[in-house]
Symmetry: C2
Subunit: 441 residues, 2 copies
């Protein structure tokens, strides 16, 4: 019987450790990203977990032929770490020998080792397992990881408990046509459009909760901002005095995330030339005021008093940035008609809700608001809307047995990432996007 | 236009802050968990985000009648923090006044504020939104949060990148009948049984990746250890020298998690009287040896040479603990017939695979192993198994264009939690379980 003690002795060093080995021989593993032949020597770029490491091949030092190296081969190099003042890192890596772990069957049909993957979005996504190996492509999702780590850190420090709610559900949270149906042991079930019901229930348990998980929307929209499956960052908090507390919490969270990215994701931010937004103060404007402001400023006619057109969201952001410098803007008090049945209406005007969206660089990235916590009030509203109460028995259970005033929000991770990186299409910030036409890879 | 600056000034203090306010008046919010009437006064237990705080009601001090307080009411108390040497906390909380934020419509049909919720598992789950309010019930999922936080911290520190892979997929990773079908814009799609394909693809990108997300299994088993939706902790790592590296990494991870729980979740561990396992060394035994050992030791006949019976897993764990003291045991080299098409077979014997399960306290909680990384080898094996290669084009893309030796594992979060807490049924450690009969709440 063997025994595992949790120790792994790797014979290879990581790129981060090279500094400590100047003047020594080391072994380092990675994938050959690019071979650049020069006069009398060659640069061999090795793709490692996070960095692309430059190695120098010369015939006199290396005990092997350059022909043995193929791009996208996985190798272990033995190399000498030579001090070199002129190098940014303070050393050069001179190749001595190579152990080839694997070779590609053939060369990729798409060139992935240039600065950019020069192909159509369609191809970029079709060949995702390969195109993600490009240095800039993979940096996108490293930053996305940083966003979720930053969010988790902030929420954990602020007393939120992380939950895992079911994605197969009996009834859809928001209802409507945009719901995926699944066969469930002879019954029909749905894919959750949001963790809304569950996060509310859990406010009754932990006061503050969050979840970062997939949600599913069967929307037929085929636009640059819609996905049929995306990662939703949801939080919900109890004992709020007004829905402004939710906006304040999101403001603090976004500030915290940008600081986290600055601290830990500088290499990727630099590689992608990302300009992080400054999150000092975020203006909040009422929906109707926003509509009128945009109409007046840009001499547009208001066609729809209940919703924004995408163009209006862009113009509003442009305007707010010009006026206040903020790239974010909260739009508050959306019409009751356009908000779900659990949205709390304003005390002074039941036509509008205690709700908000957050727009960032022209796009809605968050929807949130205060929810109805009184059983009586919630039941009355559902009856007014002609809803079948019996379908919501387990949801209403929490109201029936006591709930604090509460509210929360959902933030679309891919939308936020794409806008942060200045991308035009949300698919660019989705690892393996799902849309009406795409189920693969 | 208003402005959000990210600051929230709460008028209430948290239980953790009470210590700093001895001798002062404070406001504190929460839900009334239990009222215990004594001779001349009453204990009022206030359920807050993480603690149940004991308050003292006496007619002379309080400016309100005890009748105003109802269990599961949400309130803001004004109270005096009185120094009291005999109290464990060093103070007592004397109620002065109350602001009632909400009242339950009626009393819960299930008593939730005793030490245990004394009801059937069926009822416990039917009334989840309410029964989770019980102090011990909610402690289960607080510890579960601690497990994921501990895992994330370990993986982050060890160079793993967190990913979000799609749950709606074109073909099932493991195939077979246990797959949920969904309608997808006129086509048929499936719910992912695991992130297997995607985490492998991402090894080609980041070398080491992980994901903590829901997976879906349409298994008809209705046992104490099966769920149709559960949270899978998956990691996958490249450049391994053998599959032992994966077991070593899991050993280190489990050790790290128990230390994390000890450091940050002591209140819940104490409340639930949890005995954390010691993770110093985990024995690893070959599948066939394990079968024979159990057969010999317990005088059992081996009926199935390709798999364990649940009873055998229990007996093996019992035996290993007796012999080595370890509550964990790795079982290695499972028969090739029982492992998926991507499992790497042992060089010395193709009848077995470079794979393992981890058993803990009688139950399999992890399956892992090394994967085939050579295109040629993978295609040959798939052809031998009569598989339709055209369905796996995007999966095989990674092999075709070069992959490092790699492997990984999946750990069932709910199974691990339930065994850690000494529970008999995995549903006890699932927030809102899904099984063949349960879709609600």
């Amino acid at each position: 019987m063997r025994t595992m003690n949790g120790e792994i002795t790797k014979r290879t060093v990581t790129p981060e450790q090279l500094q400590e080995h100047i003047g020594e021989q080391v072994q380092i593993h990675g994938s050959i990203y690019k071979i650049r032949k020069m006069r009398g020597f060659a640069f061999v770029l090795l793709r490692t977990a996070r960095q692309v490491v430059q190695c120098i091949y010369s015939e006199e030092k290396a005990g092997f032929s350059l022909d043995e190296l193929v791009e996208e081969s996985c190798v272990i190099f033995t190399a000498e770490v030579v001090a070199e003042e002129r190098s940014r890192t303070g050393y050069e890596l001179h190749l001595l020998s190579v152990e080839v772990l694997s070779k590609p069957e053939e060369a990729s049909p798409i060139v992935i080792n240039n600065k950019l993957v020069d192909t159509s979005l369609e191809n970029l996504l079709n060949y995702r397992p390969i195109t993600l190996r490009n240095e800039k492509e993979r940096a996108i999702f490293k930053i996305q990881e940083g966003i979720t780590f930053g969010i988790r850190k902030f929420l954990q420090e602020n007393g939120f408990t992380e939950i895992h709610s079911p994605k197969i559900v009996y009834s859809g949270a928001e209802g409507g046509a945009n719901i995926f149906r699944i066969g469930y042991f002879g019954r029909e079930a749905y894919l959750a459009q949001s963790p809304q019901f569950y996060k509310q229930m859990m406010v009754g348990v932990y006061e503050r909760v969050f979840e970062i998980a997939p949600v599913f929307r069967a929307e037929k929209h085929d636009t640059s901002r819609h996905l049929n499956e995306y990662t939703s960052v949801d939080f919900e908090m109890g004992y709020i005095e007004s829905f402004e507390e939710i906006m304040q919490t999101e403001t603090a969270m976004l500030r915290s995330v940008t600081e986290y990215l600055k601290a830990y994701y500088e290499p990727e931010l630099t590689l992608l030339s990302v300009t992080l937004p400054t999150v000092t103060e975020i203006p909040a404007i009422r929906f109707l005021e926003a509509k009128e402001l945009v109409a007046k400023e840009y001499r547009r006619e208001i066609k729809d008093y209940e919703d924004f057109e995408p163009e209006e969201e862009k113009l509003l952001c442009e305007l707010i940035q010009k006026k206040t410098g903020s790239e974010f803007v909260f739009v508050t008090h959306y019409p009751s008609k356009k908000r779900p049945f659990y949205a709390m209406e304003s005390a002074e005007n039941s036509e509008v809700t205690e709700s908000f969206d957050l727009l960032f660089r022209g796009l809605e990235i968050t929807t949130g608001g205060q929810r109805i916590h009184s059983y009586e009030e919630q039941v009355a509203k559902m009856e007014r809307l002609g809803m079948n109460l019996s379908l919501f028995e387990s949801y209403l259970m929490m109201h029936k047995y006591g709930m604090p005033p509460h509210g929360g929000l959902g933030l679309g991770l891919e939308r936020f990432t794409s806008k942060l990186l200045g991308q035009e299409n949300v698919r660019r910030a989705t690892l393996f996007p799902r849309d009406t036409g795409r189920l693969e890879p």
